[in-house]
C-alpha cells in the first residue's frame, strides 16, 4: 500500500499520457493534467507556509542566533497574507458595485499593491541587480588563460564584450567592410560566433538533454528510480 500503489500510480499516469498523445480524442489530456498540477501546487502552499511558520517559530522559541529576524519573517508573512487573502481595502469592480469581493486583489492603490510595489519589487529587483557585481568578480577570477579550454572561454567572452562597446567597434573599423577580410570586423565576428558556434553548441546540448530526459522519465516510470517514494 505504501509503496506499490504509488509506483502503480506513477507508471499508469505516465504511460497513459504517452499513449494519449497519439489519440486525437485524448491529446489534450496533458493540458488538463497541467491545470491539475497548478491546483495541487497552490494547495501545497499550505504545507510550505506552515513549514515556514513552524521553522521560524521554533527559532524564536529556541532564542537561537538571529531569532529576532525570524520574528520579522513571521510578521511580514502574516501581514501580507492577511491583506492579500482578505482583499483589504479593495473596492468592488465598477461594473459590479454590489459584490464586495469582486475587486482585483492587486488593484492599483490597494494595500496589497502598496506591498507589491514598494517592498516586493524593489527587494527582488535589487537582488537581481546584484548579478552585475558578481559577473564582474567572476570574470576577474575565472577568466584566466590556464589551458586551451579556458582561453577559448575567455577569448570568446572578450570578443563579444568588446563588440558591445563603441571602442571595440572602432578598433576594427579600418577593415574594409566589403573586402575579403570583412569577416574579421568585430561586429561580423560576433554574429559569426553567435550564429555558428553558439548555435552548434546549444544544439548538441539540447539533443543530449532530450536523451537524458527520456532515460530519466523511463527510469521513473519503470520504478528504477524511486527514492522519492520513501521507505516501506
Amino acid at each position: 500500500m505504501k509503496r506499490s500503489v504509488p509506483l502503480l500510480i506513477t507508471a499508469v499516469g505516465g504511460f497513459a499520457l504517452i499513449v494519449a498523445y497519439f489519440i486525437p480524442y485524448t491529446e489534450a489530456l496533458g493540458e488538463t493534467v497541467a491545470v491539475w498540477f497548478d491546483i495541487l501546487a497552490a494547495i501545497a502552499f499550505i504545507l510550505g507556509g506552515g513549514n515556514l511558520l513552524k521553522q521560524h517559530l521554533k527559532k524564536i522559541s529556541d532564542r537561537g542566533p538571529g531569532w529576532g529576524y525570524s520574528g520579522v519573517v513571521i510578521g511580514s508573512f502574516l501581514i501580507t497574507l492577511f491583506i492579500g487573502l482578505s482583499k483589504v481595502g479593495v473596492p468592488p469592480l465598477a461594473e459590479f458595485p454590489d459584490f464586495a469581493w469582486s475587486g482585483d486583489f492587486i488593484g492599483i492603490g490597494t494595500p496589497f499593491w502598496f506591498i507589491y510595489q514598494y517592498a516586493f519589487v524593489p527587494l527582488t529587483a535589487t537582488m537581481f541587480a546584484m548579478l552585475a557585481f558578481y559577473i564582474a568578480s567572476a570574470a576577474f577570477r575565472a577568466f584566466r588563460a590556464k589551458n586551451l579550454e579556458a582561453i577559448l572561454l575567455l577569448g570568446t567572452a572578450f570578443i563579444i564584450l568588446l563588440g558591445r562597446t563603441f571602442a571595440g567597434v572602432a578598433l576594427t573599423n579600418w577593415i574594409d567592410p566589403t573586402g575579403p577580410f570583412a569577416g574579421l570586423r568585430i561586429e561580423n565576428l560576433t554574429v559569426y560566433i553567435m550564429s555558428v558556434f553558439n548555435t552548434v553548441g546549444n544544439r548538441a546540448i539540447m539533443i543530449g538533454i532530450a536523451l537524458g530526459i527520456v532515460a530519466v522519465s523511463l527510469k521513473v516510470l519503470l520504478g528504477v528510480d524511486r527514492s522519492y517514494l520513501g521507505k516501506e
Binding site: 527520456v214 523511463l218 522519492y228
Partner: protein, 387 residues
C-alpha cells in the same frame, strides 16, 4: 516602390479591364485527411489549361452556413493538390480554387458542391513517425536496462564532477561544516527537479555515512515534500535513521530572488564546505556560485538550462553539463539497471549521429547532382520522419 502589388494584394481588385481571363481549374474534390486529429481536408483538382502562363492558384474556404470566403493560400503553378490545415472538426466547409494570371486576373472558380467536415480518427497518423522515434529511443534504454539485469558488465567513462561528490562531503565532515544541496528553483513538474531528487538520494546517503550535516532549502513546497521522503529513505538505507532531521529540509519562498536572498545570507553565515546546485536554475545560478566561491566551498553544479551553464562553468569547481546531469544518479548508484540506462542513452546518440550523417549526405548529394528523387527522399526524411 509599391512592392506590395503582388498576387494576393490585388485579389481584391479582380476587375482589371480588358485582361485575358485564364482558364480555370476543374474537378475540385475535397476529402477528409485520413488518420488525423480532424483538422485537415485534402483538396485535389485538375490543372487549368493555361497552367504554364499562370501566376498560381488561390485556395479559399468558407463555412457551409456563411457566404464569407476566406483566402487560405496561394500556390505556385503546376500544383493540383493541397491539404487545408487548421480546421475545426465540428464545422462543415466549402472550398473554391481559382487560377490567377500574371496580371492578377482570376478565373472562374472550381468549387466543391457538398460541404465537407474533417473527421477525427482514433489514431493520429501524422504522429506515426514520431511514435517510431519514441519506441526506438525508449526501446534502446529499456533493452539495455534488461541486459544489465542479466549480469552483463557495462563499462562507462569517469565524470570528474561526480567523483568529487564523495570527496566534497568527506571534506565538509572533516572541517565540521555542513553540506548545502539546492535542488533548483522549479517545481516537481520539471524533470530536472525529479532528476535532482534522484541525485539527492545518493548525496544524502553519502552524508549519512560520513555523518555530515546536509541542509536542503527549497523554493517549492512540493519539492520540500519529495526531498524529505528522499533523504529519509537514504538515511534509512545507510543505517542511520536516527540521524535524519526533517527540519534541515525546509521551504523558503516561491519567489526566485527571495529564495536567493535567503540562500546567500545563509551561506555567508553558516559557511557550508560543500555546495551542490543540481536542478533547474535561472539567473540566481551566478549569485549562488559566486557566494559559494567566496566562502571557499567545493562546488558541484549541474543543470539542463543551457543559458546558466556558462556561469556554473566559470564559478564552480565541477559542472555537469546537460546530459551529464541526467546521468548523475546512474553514475552515483552504480547499480546495473542504472548503468544500462546510460548505455541506452549512448545508443540514442549513435542513432542521432547516423541520422544526421545520412541526412547531410543525402542533402549534399541532392545539391550536387540536382536529382529530384534524392531531394524528395531527403524531404520525406526531414519533413515527415523528423516532425
Amino acid at each position: 516602390m509599391r512592392r506590395w502589388i503582388t498576387a494576393s494584394a490585388c485579389l481584391v481588385w479582380t476587375t482589371a479591364a480588358a485582361a485575358q481571363v485564364p482558364g480555370g481549374p476543374t474537378g475540385l474534390e475535397a476529402v477528409d485527411y485520413p488518420w488525423d486529429n480532424g483538422t485537415r481536408i485534402q483538396l485535389t483538382w485538375s490543372l487549368s489549361p493555361d497552367d504554364d502562363t499562370l501566376l498560381g492558384y488561390a485556395v479559399r474556404r468558407r463555412l457551409a452556413d456563411d457566404p464569407q470566403q476566406t483566402l487560405i493560400d496561394i500556390l505556385p503553378p503546376g500544383t493540383s493538390a493541397y491539404t487545408v490545415p487548421d480546421l475545426d472538426p465540428e464545422l462543415a466547409y466549402l472550398f473554391a480554387v481559382t487560377a490567377i494570371a500574371q496580371d492578377n486576373t482570376e478565373s472562374a472558380p472550381a468549387s466543391t458542391l457538398a460541404p465537407v467536415t474533417p473527421s477525427v480518427q482514433a489514431f493520429d497518423g501524422t504522429r506515426l513517425w514520431f511514435m517510431v522515434t519514441l519506441v526506438l529511443f525508449s526501446g534502446a534504454v529499456v533493452v539495455f536496462i534488461r541486459m544489465a539485469r542479466t549480469g552483463r558488465d557495462l563499462k562507462v567513462r569517469k565524470i570528474a564532477g561526480l567523483e568529487a561528490v564523495t570527496e566534497a562531503v568527506g571534506r565538509a565532515t572533516e572541517m565540521g561544516r555542513s553540506c548545502l544541496y539546492v535542488p533548483g528553483i522549479q517545481d516537481m513538474n520539471d524533470i530536472q527537479t525529479i532528476a535532482s531528487m534522484n541525485v539527492l538520494s545518493h548525496v544524502a546517503r553519502t552524508a549519512a555515512e560520513y555523518d555530515a550535516k546536509l541542509e536542503v532549502p527549497t523554493s517549492k513546497s512540493l519539492v520540500m515534500t519529495a526531498a524529505r521522503e528522499t533523504v529519509e529513505t537514504a538515511f534509512l538505507s545507510a543505517g542511520r535513521p536516527d540521524a535524519y532531521n526533517p527540519d534541515l529540509i525546509y521551504y523558503v519562498t516561491d519567489e526566485q530572488f527571495g529564495f536567493v536572498a535567503y540562500a546567500q545570507g545563509m551561506m555567508v553565515r553558516e559557511k557550508p564546505a560543500a555546495c551542490f546546485y543540481l536542478g533547474s536554475f535561472f539567473a540566481e545560478s551566478l549569485i549562488l556560485a559566486e557566494m559559494g566561491n567566496s566562502i571557499g566551498a567545493i562546488q558541484v553544479a549541474g543543470t539542463a538550462q543551457p543559458a546558466q551553464l556558462p556561469f556554473f562553468v566559470a564559478a564552480c569547481d565541477y559542472t555537469l553539463i546537460g546530459e551529464e546531469f541526467f546521468a548523475a544518479s546512474a553514475y552515483l548508484s552504480g547499480e546495473p539497471d542504472q548503468m544500462g540506462s546510460l548505455k541506452g542513452q549512448d545508443v540514442g546518440k549513435l542513432i542521432v549521429a547516423v541520422g544526421i550523417l545520412a541526412g547531410v549526405g543525402g542533402m549534399t548529394l541532392a545539391a550536387v547532382t540536382g536529382s529530384d528523387l534524392i531531394q524528395s527522399m531527403v524531404d520525406y526524411f526531414t519533413q515527415r520522419m523528423l516532425t
